[in-house]
Subunit: 222 residues, 2 copies
Amino acid sequence: MLTLYHTPLSPACRKVRIMLTEKELNVDLIEEDVWQRRLDFFKLNPSGEVPVLMGEGGIVVCGGYAISEYLEEMYPEVQFFGNSLEEKAEVRRLVEWFDGNFNQEVTHNMLFEKVFKHLYGYGEPSSEAIRAGKRNLSYHLDYIAHLLSHRNWLAGDYLTLADITAAAHLSCLDYLGDIDWDLQQATREWYALIKSRPSFRYIMEDRVTGFRPPAHYADPDF
Amino acid sequence: MLTLYHTPLSPACRKVRIMLTEKELNVDLIEEDVWQRRLDFFKLNPSGEVPVLMGEGGIVVCGGYAISEYLEEMYPEVQFFGNSLEEKAEVRRLVEWFDGNFNQEVTHNMLFEKVFKHLYGYGEPSSEAIRAGKRNLSYHLDYIAHLLSHRNWLAGDYLTLADITAAAHLSCLDYLGDIDWDLQQATREWYALIKSRPSFRYIMEDRVTGFRPPAHYADPDF
């Protein structure tokens, strides 16, 4: 049995949970309130961050990068990185782009400011950061639409970790009501397909105290 | 022949260049001034960022994550991710930590503010960001020292991509004179070992117009 330490509104945790479900792996989920800075959790991951996976044989794997590569190598039956070197390069380019650029310019500015900053005791949200996040979101959504204008999925012809990573970020922002789907028809159709997968639907059931998602949030036919 | 588009003071580019040299691969280096936003370069990498590798058979691989994994899979004779699943997990945990947390909290605050912000035309450096970067650097260096207190190399008994990634970041900060090595004896000894490798020494020869590194910068016996 695998164990995953996670927190609900974390794109990296959502990505790993989707991979686990898609690979049909049973996992024991433990919600870790990272902002509590629990000493025993720092012994598992010195950065004190989620996700942390305890795998078979007691292996401890920390962080979305290490866990996703570990799951792909250890349980290769269902693959998410593509097959050829070209496909893998394209998947990893997009994963790095979402977990790097998109995270820094959008997710961090909105999700961290609105939800986690207070929990960590770092003070009030910065309205300037949130505004910058919204501005950046708009042109990053344009890039997703651009990819979907000549591909069925973000990295090519089928679902890969690029789609899962992007959808994990968007789902957290959507929970906060920060995406205007009316402006994003192609992206909305792509996201609806992902949302309708069982691996994604169970994540949509998470609720975070103090934040209620908009009505369309968990609806696959939104 | 491989071709790498790079810019000298980029940790991600330095990491890839070190891997290429350590793997004894011949590469044609092209310096790309990313802030010029050259249209033909955006056709290679839609994010307009370096590093971009053109590999055998015309494959285009974008970003430090995709390139490092590609080089490891394509040219496995000299390995940088460790051998066991445990080692790989530890290497990737640290790589993500340096390219994620360390980059966001330290490198971006210092290198981007001091060097790239002006080149991109984003205005004057923020002294507040630079101060935050220095503060964060101090406790992140403590973490490196902590790792080296019970290991020869950051991820274990031998040099891995974790060391290369960390040294790539530190070398860019050191170019700007931002590291007080007198306070970091263990880290200094580890960094001196990396600096003395031929793969690293040739990177030390890079110079950036308008910025002169401190006297100790390229000296392996600093």
